[in-house]
Symmetry: D2
Subunit: 87 residues, 4 copies
Amino acid sequence: MQSDKERITRLLKTAKGQLEGLLKMVEEDRYCIDISNQLMATQAILKKVNAEILHDHIHHCVHGAFGTEEQEEKISEIMLIMDKLTK
Amino acid sequence: MQSDKERITRLLKTAKGQLEGLLKMVEEDRYCIDISNQLMATQAILKKVNAEILHDHIHHCVHGAFGTEEQEEKISEIMLIMDKLTK
Amino acid sequence: MQSDKERITRLLKTAKGQLEGLLKMVEEDRYCIDISNQLMATQAILKKVNAEILHDHIHHCVHGAFGTEEQEEKISEIMLIMDKLTK
Amino acid sequence: MQSDKERITRLLKTAKGQLEGLLKMVEEDRYCIDISNQLMATQAILKKVNAEILHDHIHHCVHGAFGTEEQEEKISEIMLIMDKLTK
């Protein structure tokens, strides 16, 4: 993985902490809107992490694969990811 | 919370398990695309949970607030959620 | 419709102008990325218009339906829209 | 543009027709929810067109740029598009 490992780990741990909070909120029958807002906050973190990882992947891995026998595979992978993101 | 507590808890636990897996993948410097796909799978679960919670919230809480002094608050809450979803 | 008619009409006309531009770009075999960026700009306008219309709908129509026999219908409509937005 | 020109043109013309319909609906003060549903249908078409254009762009243009002095530019373009899609 090309992204800043420490930063990505910190973001994922925050998301995990929020998820543990969500499990507690559900357990305690907390108000739906509060749970929904926490869910959307967690989704926003994961979205940011994914954006960063994909950005750095293209910048390093895809770029680095140019002219090597890996380039075909890299292109197909990016096409699949793009298809998911534009679905 | 109005949704099926067991189902929501199970889905959130799955998402949490995936997040733990993600932390491990980052720790082990796994391939970016594999991490991205796992991230998008976790996002999909949270999206489904949020959809269910909001659906049931409108069906029960907003509906139940009709004719009570809570109705104004319920309306504003739904407007804020809708604004976030359409952003 | 509850929203500012003039504003919504102006935004939709801008989107329509962009769509006409897109048809021309496709006709002239313009570069894919330029077409994609124009598409995303048009999508952003439609998203903004939809956000505004839904916001004002809840604020006026749903709110106004409270205590009338229309309230059930209004609630189901919002649930269907919310389901689409969270899909 | 690499995509099927006829197909893309047909889809864009459908979207344009819907947009003209939307302008009429707004003019006639049609019901908000009907307008919102038509907006989301038009957005879905533009999303599909964008997905197809980006898919074919990577498959042809980015792929074709490998080993040429265009490859840097192609990579940066895809990174910018990816950043927009993951925002």
